[in-house]
């Protein structure tokens, strides 16, 4: 995509510095915590080193699980299953119950591999099951694993269990082992942060909060989740291996369901989509019982109170408490001032010469024919207006084009090439972007992040590259952020780039959606009532913006109730009524078309 590479070239050094500052700013507290953690053995004793090791191990798991629960929003409450698996694999291999003894470190690595496989198995139901169902299924796996550990006595030692692996020097002392755990935790945190700040991290959040928009941006939920499950599984299993060594001995009853709940809760009281929050959550929940030793009998109760308190008082979790940047008030009298001139920087002249064509589309829900043999022809560099009373099938047609609905007959083609029906995730790559009637925005993410979602498919680095922050991954980030800022400037929202999206006004969200659509350098944009809820002057600016977009050769399909806007900017207008085309032509023709007027006004 030449336009994109232009953008990359245009990444000036201070943009890069800016980007690094943003990324590192969020890292500062994490690093600080690890620095303090490093000092624990120095000015305290083995007891606190043990507790610290435990915290580090839990965080190793929670940190990774955070991607599944906190970012992707999958309610995986049974992750102790993978901890258990990891613990047993590491222990059994290094004890040599089934094979010649393996050095613990290698056993740990093998456990990681096993964990990533098992992680996918435990995770896959998420693609098919509703949230709560998925939660229960993970809980099911947790039970199955412990029961098998109990039954398979010859290998797992059954009820008596096995002595945990002992790591070789320098990890054979309390502090030596602690630094091992801390190291693993640090690496895991670094990787999670990399993913979180990459297009993959944003895609996960998109799946959580705006799944439909995510699909429209070409994000494949299945692919993404599998990659995350692999990573999380590996981390969780390795945490298990370390856990086994820390416990010095593992029995099935050491892997209580409470442990699973602890992991899960740490994330949620920490706050979804944050790394610092869950980390503090883990630390607090691990330390709490130690300070409250006399209250042991009531620990669970207090724990539950804490949870309930957080849910009711601060649903955003610790992260929300610490989010100061979004506390400072926004300028109340701000206005959206699109910069038409910037559009020329954002969009390269579209090469698309053919038009997007709908031929004889029929789709009925139940008995009702929502769309009844509609033909439509959206030409490049033209605005095609689509109007009609409620329930005349306008939005349905948009959903057919963008692949959410599968028409019973008829097809959608671009230059004679048929678009796969019912597969929304393919559209972005085909150069078709869209906005939604009610903005599908990730409220908890910043405006720029929301916009960058639209460019997800433009990235070329793989998940692994993002994980390890390899050059290509870094370049993707630079490019996307650069593009994002440009696009925001073009729609006139660059001043709000780092603000939480849910703090914006409705009208601004509409422009954010357009910005997101522009990110993918589309050949066609489908706008679903972009003017709804906008003030007259905003509508005017919207009109100018659309005009400018079209000047770059993009074809626009505009579904709108504001007749004035339609007649103002459209080249072609199609009027629908009861799923049929009532009339089509230039605004002038339509404006005087008797049937239209009556149908539109009723009568």
């Amino acid at each position: 995509m030449s336009g994109v590479s232009d953008a990359v070239e245009r990444v000036s050094t201070n943009d890069v510095r800016e980007r690094l500052r943003n990324a590192s700013a969020s890292m500062v507290p994490l690093v600080a915590i690890f620095v303090v953690a490093l000092a624990v053995p120095v000015f305290s004793n083995d007891y606190w080193v043990l507790i610290a090791s435990r915290t580090a191990i839990y965080w190793l798991l929670v940190g990774a699980l955070n991607l599944v629960v906190g970012f992707a929003g999958q309610l995986a409450i049974g992750y102790v299953a993978i901890l258990t698996l990891g613990a047993y694999v590491t222990t059994i291999l290094s004890a040599g119950n089934v094979s010649p003894p393996v050095p613990p470190v290698i056993a740990l690595a093998i456990a990681g591999v096993a964990g990533s496989v098992f992680g996918v198995i435990v995770g896959l139901p998420a693609l098919r099951l509703r949230t709560f169902y998925f939660a229960i299924s993970t809980f099911g796996f947790a039970t199955i694993v412990t029961q098998i550990a109990l039954a398979w006595q010859s290998v797992t030692g059954g009820g008596i269990g096995l002595p945990g692996p002992e790591f070789p020097a320098p990890f054979d002392t309390r502090s030596g082992f602690y630094f091992l755990c801390l190291g693993c935790a640090a690496v895991c945190t670094w990787m999670t942060a990399n993913v979180a700040h990459s297009r993959f991290g944003r895609a996960l959040v998109a799946i959580r909060d705006a799944e439909v928009a995510a699909e429209a941006a070409g994000i494949s939920k299945a692919k993404l989740l599998v990659m995350v499950f692999v990573f999380t599984g590996a981390a969780a299993a390795m945490a298990g291996g370390l856990f086994a060594s820390l416990q010095t001995y593992i029995t099935p009853d050491a892997f209580t369901f409470d442990l699973s709940i602890l992991f899960f809760i740490s994330i949620l009281i920490g706050g979804r989509g944050s790394i610092l929050g869950p980390m503090l959550g883990t630390i607090i929940l691990t330390l709490l019982p130690e300070f409250a030793a006399p209250l042991a009998a009531w620990s669970t109760f207090l724990y539950a109170c804490l949870l309930l308190g957080v849910v009711l008082a601060v649903p955003g979790g610790i992260a929300a408490l610490l989010d100061f940047r979004n506390r400072k008030p926004l300028d109340q009298h701000r206005a959206i001032v699109p910069r038409a001139d910037v559009i020329s920087e954002v969009l390269r002249p579209s090469q698309m010469k053919e038009s997007l064509t709908l031929s004889d589309i029929v789709l009925s829900f139940g008995g009702v024919r929502a769309v009844d043999g509609v033909d439509l022809d959206i030409r490049p560099a033209q605005i095609h207006g689509l109007i009609g009373p409620n329930g005349s099938g306008k939005t349905t047609i948009l959903n057919i084009i963008s692949g959410y609905y599968r028409p019973q007959s008829g097809e959608v083609t671009v230059g004679g090439e048929t678009l796969p029906a019912g597969r929304p995730a393919t559209r972005a790559a085909l150069g078709i972007a869209r906005t939604f009637q009610t903005p599908r925005i990730i409220g908890e993410a910043s405006v720029i992040e929301n916009v960058m979602i639209g460019g997800t498919i433009n990235g070329c680095g793989t998940f692994a590259e993002a994980l390890l922050m390899l050059p290509r991954g870094r370049r993707d980030e630079a490019m996307l952020r650069q593009m994002g800022l440009l696009v925001l400037r073009s729609v006139g929202l660059d001043s709000l780039a780092d603000v939480r999206a849910d703090r914006l006004q409705h009208s601004e969200l509409r422009f954010v959606e357009i910005a997101r659509a522009l990110m993918s350098q589309p050949a066609f944009i489908l706008l679903d009532e972009p003017a709804a809820g906008l003030a007259p002057d905003e509508i005017r600016r919207l009109g100018e913006l659309i005009r400018e977009i079209v000047r770059r050769g993009v074809g626009v399909l505009l579904v709108e109730h504001h007749a004035d806007l339609i007649f103002d900017i459209c080249h072609q207008v199609t009027v629908l009524n009861l799923g049929r085309v009532l009339a089509a032509g230039t605004p002038a023709e339509i404006r005087v078309h008797k049937e239209v007027v009556s149908a539109y006004l009723g009568g």
Binding site: N390, H506, L509, G533, H561, H562, R591, G602, G603
Partner: protein, 250 residues
């Protein structure tokens, strides 16, 4: 502006409302007098449905006031407004398909005293013989038009002072539309006020005393249903051209 000496039954002033961040209504002023049929017209997305929801308390409003029968309805939920005699028949004839016609009506009579309920139900059914015949059958067995009648009947069960109908004609054949609208006419005779949201202008004008046209969340036109050249003015109001002139003209 037609000023009436009598205190209006429903008096809405400077109402702002919407969904979450989306402000749909910008300072709407309308009123309905006792026994009067008022049609609320306007293009899609103008905020007609939103207005009805705000009045009946289904939607909270952030500014302005609503008085019904002299009572301030601010912060009052749909249940209280219904008890106060303000019945709202929402769009899309959303009746309870799994329950019988009679039960649907009994539910509307939830607050009515035990012995009174069946009386009210029969009374409501008397307006619609065609569904009275199907009183035992589940709502799902009714045709779209019959479901709409049932929805209207639900509104009547409470013997409301004001009945708000949201697009009762949507998806109905012309014949059925007339059936529903004749009921409106009958109600006027019994002294019940009606606030009617309609797409079909002619039909609306036929039964209405007054019309309001709503566009982009504000009242762009108020007129007597009988005034001449109304259609043209409506058209302009709809398509948003020279709106200022019209509002100035009023």
């Amino acid at each position: 502006m037609r000023i009436s000496a009598a205190e209006p039954l429903l008096d809405v002033r400077g109402l702002n409302s919407g969904y979450g961040k989306i402000v749909v209504l910008h300072g709407v002023d309308i009123n309905v007098h006792k026994g009067e049929v008022v049609a609320l017209l306007g293009p899609n997305g103008a905020g007609k449905t939103t207005l009805l929801r705000a009045i009946s308390g289904l939607l909270p409003w952030n500014a302005g006031s609503v008085h019904f029968g002299g009572r301030d309805l601010s912060g009052v939920g749909p249940r209280e407004s219904a008890r106060a005699g303000l019945a709202h028949v929402i769009e899309g004839h959303r009746i309870f398909t799994q329950q019988s016609v009679t039960d649907n009506l009994l539910l509307a009579a939830y607050d009515v005293s035990q012995h009174e309920r069946m009386v009210r139900v029969e009374e409501a059914l008397s307006y619609f013989p065609e569904i009275a015949a199907k009183r035992r059958e589940p709502g799902s067995s009714l045709s779209g038009g019959q479901q709409q009648m049932l929805a209207v009947a639900q509104g009547l069960v409470r013997r409301p002072k004001l009945l708000m109908l949201d697009e009762p004609s949507a998806g109905l054949s012309p014949v059925l539309v007339d059936r529903v609208l004749t009921v409106v006419a009958r109600l006027r005779e019994t002294g019940t006020a009606v606030l009617l949201v309609e797409q079909l202008i002619e039909k609306a004008l036929a039964v209405a005393d007054r019309v309001y046209a709503l566009a982009r969340g504000t009242v762009v036109l108020e007129a007597g249903a009988a005034e001449v050249g109304l259609a043209g003015r409506l058209e302009n109001a709809y398509f948003g051209t020279r709106v200022t002139e019209f509002s100035a003209a009023m």
